[in-house]
Symmetry: D2
Subunit: 359 residues, 4 copies
């Protein structure tokens, strides 16, 4: 239970880190969307590991195979299923986990929920690897959105104590956003990016890890999309965003930052601009009452530092009910944030596309 | 679309600020839950306006009438419907809003979505008044949870620049939490509460408003509740929390705070305590991989400063497509945070109760 | 659990036979639908009891009160809630039912599901009275459909052994369908109607009851509405239709009748007619592969004879676990079919309107 | 949209007749169900074609490959995905269908819904072949149900004008039901089976086809499963059953047959039997008010004669908008009913298992 999301476009994600394959079924894609496979591949690559010193050296093929739903790379109205084979199956790196849960991982609650039947290898279904099919589905939606003039772009907003320049929410520079998607290390200010990389390297040397914040912008969403109360854009994006492992917080517009402001400082005045009603500023992040205002939608997610660190940690033996020590083996990103950037774009695209079809 | 939430216990909220009544239908409540009407009334009162100098002087009866679902105050398995009459209907305070949208309110996106048919009086279905039936439903779930040893309590964590003492997430003092629910101004440190009240008074005098943060703790949830990916506890609580007007952010455990930490500082070690597996600290907020760990569930929501401020603001005439000035009349809370505390408890209770029934 | 249905237009039905009120919340109605209250009242009256010798003499007011969702009788986009007060509450007619279940009623399974907490008075939430709010919601959808040129009409197809003339599914005469909705006893052939009435009278005299079949036609649905597999029109109408008490079967087009035919006799050939693609015959009932073909949608539901009969029946004491005799008191329709006709129209309208909004 | 069903156990079916593969994702299977792969294979084989003179000669491997969700053939709580490769892809048998719709098939409504982008080869996603993954998912549920003492069995009730002995709904002979599942031609009376086979052969010789009725029995379901109104057992089974191509009707218990009976003849009296409350007869088919009574659940589905017949039929050219003739090529079952028997069992198992987990 839990790996299905969406109302009109419903995705069902499957796979474990070391199962034969991982993948996604997408039900409800309108017929007639032609998919640019090169763009998809490029997008998937942004999430793939092994692309720099700062990421895990584990190799993933991540070449999706489409089992259904397409006729000549165009959606045919039938559910689309795409799988990504796991070449790296049944590793013995993880044997110990059946008994000694890793701090910060789902090992212990999974044991309690699945009574010992869960697949522990590589984190099983809780593995960050499961974001690959989410990216796949997300990019298909992104391509469909682009045809409607809607663009999704995210950048690393912060890693550890280093912060990138924030997007101007009232007028994000499209060129910037386009460029950031092309970058190996997606920041607006490359100098900040270099500081971040150095911080990651240092954490790695210290057998430790770092977290960060990703900022995402969606431009071109017309006013009037969304719903009041429990089906607003915020509700839906948040519900999807916490599906990305390590996400521990989300905020829209000014978010937690609005707490230090007064209403007069936080409200966005309306004004006419070239015959259109806009807000002068965009502290509301493009959403009021759950519904889009026509301004760019802006949100940020907080990601915790990678739980898998190489230094020894305290844990317990679940079998013997005694304290013990644990050293987590395997190859792990000292900071997952850079690779999570396309994942955040993906869940934004999935959600917005689903909501637009609702109208 | 949007005012229904829940899977096993499904609530459907209805009403506008100035319609004949507001209320809620709850489908799926197990039969046999006896409801303590006094406790419910007391809980509803915490949300009700008019209780102090810092809240609106508007009077709301908020006495629910149960139309169905109960036999002698005990749930009978049939959907429960409770209504709260609006005594304050069809006010003329809001006439202007049909044309000039209030900054920070849903007026403009609602106009775009509902094409002018929306009920503008008092904010219509977007009014904060709609949290009354949410509290009603939430308290019923809270009473059902209490019978399972699960307690929900929230306090004002911050208003403007004044911050309350945070709860110790690894070991919240039950007595504190119990007491905070009884307080007229729910803070852990009363001295901080007084500072907050002064800040609110000052904002009011300045025709302005303040936002804040509410922290909520759920104790007694056994390990193993929840699901991976899109139906985890974080996903579900977040999806519900953004249903409270003015919420612009949510974080679990350390949340955005974990960004400045390293993995070794943010991971929670396991240890045996009195034969039970616990974590020594609780920066994860009781949830890993979407599933409860048995530690207290802790989250915080950010609420923006009240949008309705008495000072003049810039806006537009939607009809004439020209810039104009707007003065918002009516009685408004200079800070909605104190009254939102039970609302946050309510959505927490609704969500956790729904998820526990899933097992 | 169970009294919510719909995807885009979600209805939540509440109430028990003898609770303070019954009613319905409708979430997702598009804004701007003006409701003709006279037409609604007229429609509700078709379902109301006490209209002839063949129905129960129980009086129901059935005058709905709209609590929310309307501004000047026009939907405003907020959830609509309408309640119908029960004047007839807490009757003592049903005291015995807590212990001795009525054959053919939900008393026994309800006892097993709700562990004795269910509301037994008048059948509680299982009462046929709960179809009143369904009719209310259905008629609102019907009025919205009519604006799109879609008409829903049903007639009594059979009662006991007397059968009405079937509709010509390939070309139902609109005038006939219009007229049948105006009739006190909705049959196409009045002579058959008189035979049916005589059969009902006889059953009543014999302290017994009769069942029947209702045929429903939906005209004007464009081709291409619906979905494959589990969300086809048949799936959806069936899922709703079994929500009407006493329905035990449903068939579309030729239905069970196609079993005696060969493919060559049951297939409907396509042909051009006035530039349009149509089928010459309509044994498929307007649906192929779950999707509308543009031909009239035709289905029939089988309703069992009223379970409440006045003659003595065998039952058991659930408390004492012994056999016993039961005489069901109260006023009951010897045949529920005539009053169920608008209910069948209502669920058809609800379903089709919901599905049309999906596009 | 449409190929996802279930609430606690959610299946998502994918594939087209001639896509690379077909398959199913199952989300929400409890962890710890060990799957007997031999039993699964045997079950799948009952649906597979090419097993007798009366079925299509098309060969299907139908050997599922499990991509995820299992650890050593035991469910691990992660979504299970199983695929069945299509060996028979991109056939040119169907070229003509893009323009000339087959009577009785989804070709024309699919064209209207998917605007020409649908996959026409082999019927695309509308193909009966898509019942293979449904059977796969159904058998897994069946195995899980068996561990709770719940058995599902179906037999051919009728083909053309030949009728098998009906099951005694009040006391189906378990041995019979067990045996019928082992038979190559699943009827209770083999003599009737031979008559049916002869009728099918004759239809085939005549380039024509036959329909039929399948009767399904579910034993061992405890009383109290299900819900009132729209989530009753009947609603749910019906919603799933119309997902099987060619199903045009469904009835529970006496179904349409109860129309000719009076209440006194159709009501099932309660009585004590060995300390248990049972009904003496079972015309209600084990369900009252949507909830199980503890008696066997009995339903029948009507299947239309195979639409694909070899004789020439009238149709139209959708492109040229003129009448034309059509001869359907390819290998088709002259009667789909025998192979649909396990499909009916599958949807029954899926539904009941889903509903049992709801409690």
């Amino acid at each position: 239970m839990g790996s299905v999301i969406g109302k009109n476009v419903k995705i069902s994600v499957f796979g474990q880190s070391h199962s034969k394959a991982i993948g996604v079924t997408i039900d409800g894609l309108p017929a007639g969307i032609s998919i640019d496979m090169e763009e998809l591949k490029k997008f998937m690559k942004r999430r793939a590991p092994g692309q720099g010193a700062h990421t895990t050296t584990r190799k993933e093929g991540d070449q999706p195979e489409f089992l259904s739903g397409l006729v000549e790379n165009t959606t045919c109205g039938a559910p689309l299923c795409a799988v990504i084979p796991n070449t790296n199956t049944r590793s013995s790196d993880y044997e110990n986990l059946k008994d000694v849960p890793r701090p910060g991982h789902a090992d212990y609650p999974a044991q309690m929920k699945f009574h010992g039947f869960q697949d522990v290898a590589g984190g099983g279904h809780f593995s960050g690897r499961l974001t690959a099919p989410v990216c796949l589905a997300g990019n298909i939606c992104m391509q469909a959105l682009a045809k409607r003039g809607i663009q999704v772009a995210a950048h690393i907003y912060r890693i550890g104590h280093v912060q990138d320049r924030p997007v101007n929410p009232a007028d994000p520079i499209q060129a910037d956003l386009q460029k950031v998607r092309e970058k190996a290390f997606p920041v607006l200010e490359d100098e900040k990016g270099e500081q971040m990389l150095r911080a990651i390297d240092q954490a790695k040397k210290d057998l430790d890890s770092l977290g960060g914040v990703i900022e995402c912008v969606i431009t071109g969403v017309p006013a009037g999309i969304g719903n009041p109360m429990f089906e607003g854009i915020e509700n839906r994006i948040a519900a999807a965003a916490f599906g990305i492992p390590a996400v521990k917080g989300i905020e829209f517009g000014n978010g937690f930052g609005c707490v230090g402001l007064r209403g007069s400082q936080n409200n966005d005045s309306y004004e006419m601009r070239e015959g259109e009603i806009v807000t002068r500023t965009n502290r509301h992040g493009g959403i009021l009452g759950g519904i889009s205002t026509g301004m760019p939608i802006v949100f940020r997610v907080a990601m915790k530092p990678t739980s898998s660190i190489a230094m020894e940690q305290d844990s317990v033996s679940m079998r013997d009910k005694v304290n013990t020590k644990l050293v987590v083996h395997g190859r792990h990103d000292p900071c997952i944030v850079p690779r999570a950037v396309p994942c955040v774009e993906a869940i934004a695209a999935l959600t917005i596309y689903d909501m637009i079809l609702e109208q």
